[in-house]
Amino acid sequence: MTLADLKRGQQGIITDVSSIHIPLKLLEMGCLPGNAVELVQVAPFADPMYLNINGSHLAIRKETAIHILIETAHE
């Protein structure tokens, strides 16, 4: 599943990021494989998404979130 599939309040672990689609800045802010991610809040139509990645709070658009692969604890 990708980051875009997370529900509000749900947590996961980043497994892979597609480096062609993801700006370096986002990686530098902690969006890297192995780091924990939580969806804190969503704007209407679930876009943009307000995330807590590895302790960093940031918002990204859904179009970026679909390029970040994650897995949740249940899987």
């Binding site: 700006p23 802010m29 902690g30 890297l32 876009d47 943009p48 709070h57």
Partner: protein, 699 residues
């Protein structure tokens, strides 16, 4: 001998870097620009123990040394150029105790440049609240640095930091990790090819387009081995580098930092539940906007009325006190009237910057960006466009500069192009005076017609900005990678000192920047209105006396006829009459024409120009408004400023691109004359047509 050391303050945005700067320098600071670009350069002097002085530069906030904007590029350019006069003897990396992990990424990069570096951990007053404890000794050892644990809010640790700055020579310049191990073969080759250069510098130069003495990127491409790396390869390497740095940071913090989550309290979650809520979030944002507008129109009107009448009396007093002559007239009618037109803005500008700086300092502005992104995107804008559009209500110049953090070029360009439609403070005096003249007093549902008109004008400005963005989004064929990352910082109570310094700085910049133009124009206008060519001007007295000889006019009436005859035949009168055919269909006379033409330097000149034109030859102490109300339409009779011509003027000012400074900033930010010229021509033509239609319908 007093010695001065160069210190560079570096840090992520939202770490309180500017607070540290303010704490170290106090009022010993100045704000300028980096040569040739519009990035703000803040520098100041800090007095240290034993007579040493530190020259401190507050560099723009950046997340890393891989620049993605003009502001961030400034940081790298300075750190890579050893010959720059500001090249730091010492770097201070400011971090926030709650975001230490992310902040340390930049720190490890700076360390790789082998500049002596102090790590400041700010906001230490939040540690207990967040359940954080630090092992400073361990961190200092691992990070090969000295750490200053400070709190600018509680004013703690500043002395210790100054002490560390004084002893900067004792700092280690050793990197804390071996970044080149991500591709050993590649970096070994690089080292062989350029043995005299620092490896990390070479790597930074290769991965981004910065000028670095003689070794620019082309030199690298000439060397066989480096052509093998494609851009995609380089990007992958950068990703590897980032992962490697985080591995080191995680290892270090595992021992150096403990967070007791049970002890941590989180105000953020509670506040965000409301402030970014799908309904409440928007409602609160709306209420905050209402409060801001209320402050600007209502609260600032008291000091503004006071300033207006004070300048009227000052001008009168000057005329009566100083000996009669051309100089006194210039002073009273040109300079003082012109100055009044600038000073009257101060209350509103100050209020606006006060609110904007509180919204930014508190962290709320990021929430607005989050809330608005989806809506703004429909119009080809970004959530980050909201900040320029709101700041645009103060002044388009800082607003256009605030577009820099919009990542997508297309969204940024559209924001720059439409921002001048928002109702800036310079339009306000024009609106206020014309509304007072042509909109009747009276109320509907407790709201005054005049206030409603003003609000309508703001909505028109904002609506036009968004509407034209929508059109531009369809018309402009620009492919640009669109991505959007915005940090959601913690909520903070704004520091009074920071807010006060921002308000002071911005107001000063506006008043002096606009002031120079207004003052120059007022003086030129006064000369043009006070002198004229030919008999008609120079012999006005005899001409008028002869013309009205049969009528029994009082001396006052006669004098007035003489003065208005003079004005009509002065240089400005002649110019005004020349353009009158073009503006008559809009309901204006030649005096308004002159005011409009001079407004193309800056809109706020309008009121000042009319003040100067009307005060030439008038003896009575009168406010500008009364003089304007007394003007008579020379052809139709009746007041010149009536409902039709008033509305036409309001609409003209709402749409026309009348600000040279904005055009200059747009040129700088878009790096071409094409966009500012489009703005000037299209906006002004649109303004003319709308004003024409409005007048012809209403008359």
């Amino acid at each position: 001998m007093s010695k001065q050391i160069n210190v560079a303050l570096i840090g992520n945005p939202n770490t309180g870097k500017t607070s540290v700067f303010n704490a170290l320098t106090g009022l010993n600071q100045k704000v300028g620009n980096y040569p040739g670009i519009t990035v703000e350069k803040k520098e100041g002097i800090c007095k240290l123990p034993r007579g040493v002085k530190a020259h401190i530069i507050d560099l723009p906030g950046t997340y890393s040394l891989n620049a993605s904007s003009l502001d961030e590029n400034v940081v790298i350019e300075l750190l890579l150029n050893k010959t720059d006069k500001d090249y730091p003897d010492l770097a201070i990396v400011v971090s926030d105790v709650e975001n230490l992990k992310r902040n340390l990424l930049l720190f490890t990069q700076i360390k790789d440049l082998q500049i002596p570096t102090i790590l400041v951990i700010n906001m230490s007053d939040r540690m207990a609240y967040k359940g954080i404890s630090l092992d400073i000794d361990h961190l200092e050892q691992e990070l090969k640095t000295k750490i200053a644990l400070i709190s600018t809010r509680k004013n703690k640790g500043i002395q210790e930091l100054k002490e560390l700055i004084t002893h900067y020579k004792e700092l280690s310049t050793e990197p804390c990790l071996e970044a080149s191990s991500i591709d050993k073969a590649y970096f070994d080759n690089l080292r062989k090819a350029f043995p005299n250069q620092l490896l990390y510098k070479l790597w930074l130069v290769i991965t981004q387009d910065v000028n670095f003495g003689k070794t620019d990127r082309k030199t690298f491409e000439a060397v066989e081995d480096f052509k093998t790396k494609s851009n995609a390869d380089l990007k992958r390497l950068q990703q590897k580098e980032t992962i490697k740095r985080y591995q080191f940071i995680n290892e270090t913090l595992k021992v150096g930092q403990t967070i007791d989550l049970k002890a941590a309290k989180d105000l953020r979650i509670k506040l965000d539940r409301i402030l970014t809520h799908k309904v409440w979030g928007y409602l609160i944002f709306g209420l905050i906007l209402l409060l801001i507008f209320q402050a600007i129109y209502d609260w600032s009107s008291i000091p503004m009325d006071f300033i207006d009448s004070s300048f009227a009396s000052l001008s009168e007093w000057t005329k009566n006190t100083l000996p009669e002559g051309a100089f006194t007239n210039l002073l009273a009618e040109g300079i003082i009237s012109g100055l009044g037109g600038i000073v009257i803005f101060i209350p509103q500008i100050a209020f606006l910057f006060l609110f904007i700086s509180i919204l930014e300092e508190s962290g709320y502005m990021s929430r607005v960006v989050f809330l608005m992104d989806r809506i703004m995107r429909r119009f080809g804008l970004s959530g980050k466009s909201v900040v320029p559009l709101i700041s645009g209500t103060a002044c388009a110049i800082p607003a256009i500069m605030a577009t820099r953090n919009i990542e997508s070029w297309k969204e940024r360009l559209i924001t720059i192009l439409v921002t001048p439609f928002t109702t800036c403070a310079a339009r306000l005096p024009v609106y206020l005076i014309i509304i007072a003249l042509v909109i009747p007093e009276g109320r509907i549902f407790g709201l005054s017609y005049q206030a409603l008109t003003l609000m309508l004008l703001y909505l028109i400005g904002f609506g036009t900005a968004v509407g034209s963005a929508w059109i531009l989004n369809k018309v402009l064929k620009i492919k640009s990678k669109s991505f959007f990352v915005v940090e959601m910082p913690n909520y903070k109570l704004p520091l009074l000192k920071n807010v006060a310094l921002t308000v002071l700085e911005k107001t000063k910049a506006f008043v002096f920047g606009a002031g120079k133009i207004i003052l120059a124009i007022s003086i030129v206008l006064w000369f043009l209105a006070s002198y004229g060519p030919g008999d008609n001007f120079n012999n006005a007295e005899s001409i008028i006396t002869a013309q009205y000889a049969s009528e029994n006019l009082s001396e006052d009436e006669l004098n007035q006829k003489i003065e208005s005859h003079k004005l009509e035949h002065s240089f400005i009168g002649i110019a005004g009459h020349a353009i009158e055919p073009a503006i008559r269909p809009l309901g204006y006379d030649w005096k308004i024409g002159i005011a409009i033409v001079s407004s193309f330097a800056a809109r706020e000149v309008f009121v000042g120009t009319l003040a100067t034109i009307y005060s030439v030859g008038s003896d009575e102490e009168e406010t500008i408004k009364n003089r304007m109300a007394g003007e008579v339409n020379p052809i139709l009779g009746g007041p010149l400023f009536n409902f039709a011509s008033g509305i036409s003027l309001l609409l003209f000012y709402a749409f026309a691109m009348q600000c040279m400074s904005t055009l200059a900033i747009v040129k700088k930010e878009t790096n071409s004359w094409k966009w500012p010229l489009y703005q000037l021509v299209i906006m002004s033509a649109f303004a003319y047509i709308v004003a024409l239609v409005a007048y012809q319908i209403l008359i």
